[in-house]
Amino acid sequence: METRPYFVFGDLLANASVGALVGCVCAACFGTGWNMLLAMFVGMALGMALSLPFALGFGAFFGAMEVMLPVMTTGMLAGMVASMTGAMEGLALARGATLGLWSGVAVVIVTYVANALIRRRASRWTA
């Protein structure tokens, strides 16, 4: 598990800020007129597309795959949550950003746990 403060901070910064941005954009795009299922799929795709350039930008400072994969997952999750919420009950921009931010924090926690589990299970396969 990553324990160096610079990279832990970078992971949280990248995912929280991209999540907030995607949540905000999806809150603006998806209102109660949308079919919820359609909004979910479009929101996920939009979130992933929006997060890609930020994944590359943050990656230059904080790591390659370690930034790109969580940030794109955050984009997908924040897009899904914000677009579905917007389609169900409408969503103010600030609340969309908050939902996206917490989606990003959740993704960081889940990927850290997944990384620890995968590495513990499969680390140092030796013939």
Binding site: E2, Y6, F7, G10, M48, L52, L56, F58, G59, A60, F61, F62, G63, A64, M65, E66, V67, L69, M72, T73, M76, T111, A114, N115, I118, R119, A122, S123, R124, W125, T126, A127
Partner: protein, 201 residues
């Protein structure tokens, strides 16, 4: 020489260090140093030396031949190579068509290379040919993932990333075996995506 691949990496050389020179190298430095500490006293081939970002992690005093398909990358690597306290000979070369005689090297090292080699199994077979029998292959590579959603993302990104540089969904461990190497060790560095692979010819 694969001209398409060569010109792709010639174009990438100008901004390569901007994208890969700080964050990724800092993050991977401990694992790369650990892997490269296995460099022995014999003849070493380093495949795809790029702009030489890995050179500061090499243990001192080794005798290394570093190859890359892109002359623009090698030109960028030169200051780092000149600062290395040992011997590094740089040569522009395509891994698929290496002119070295069979059994020319005791060890081969790669670093984020087989995400980009156009025909990875043939490239790995070429590495096996230039290694002495029982010679060592040590790789630091990123590969595809078995796990959702990472697998989906990497499959979606590969058509785009392939145009600019690497592919995201390679099956490098399986390719090493398919090329005839004996797999010795695989260590996952990040998820099941970034890993070190060690094998013998």
């Amino acid at each position: 020489m694969d001209r398409v691949t060569m010109s792709k990496w010639d174009r990438a050389a100008a901004h390569f260090d901007l994208m890969a020179g700080y964050g990724p190298e800092k993050r991977w430095e401990p694992k790369k140093r650990e892997l490269f500490s296995r460099m022995g006293e014999g003849r070493i081939l380093f495949l795809a030396v790029g702009t030489g970002l890995d050179v500061p992690f090499f243990p001192p005093g080794r005798s290394i031949v570093g190859i890359d398909i892109s002359q623009a990358m090698l030109d960028k690597a030169k200051p780092r190579v000149d600062a290395y306290p040992g011997s590094i000979e740089l040569r522009q070369m395509d891994v698929h068509d290496m002119p070295f005689e069979a059994g020319s090297f005791d060890q081969v090292f790669t670093s984020c290379t087989f995400c980009s080699v156009p025909d990875p199994v043939r490239g790995l077979e070429a590495l096996r040919r230039v290694l002495v029998p029982g010679g060592e292959l040590h790789m630091f590579e990123h590969t595809g993932s078995r796990y959702y959603p990472f697998r989906l993302m990497m499959n979606l990104m590969t058509p785009l990333s392939r145009r600019l540089g690497p592919e995201m969904n390679r099956t490098t461990v399986e390719n090493v075996v398919a090329a005839g190497f004996q797999l010795r060790e695989v260590e996952h560095v990040y998820l099941d995506v970034v890993k070190t692979i060690s094998a013998t010819a």
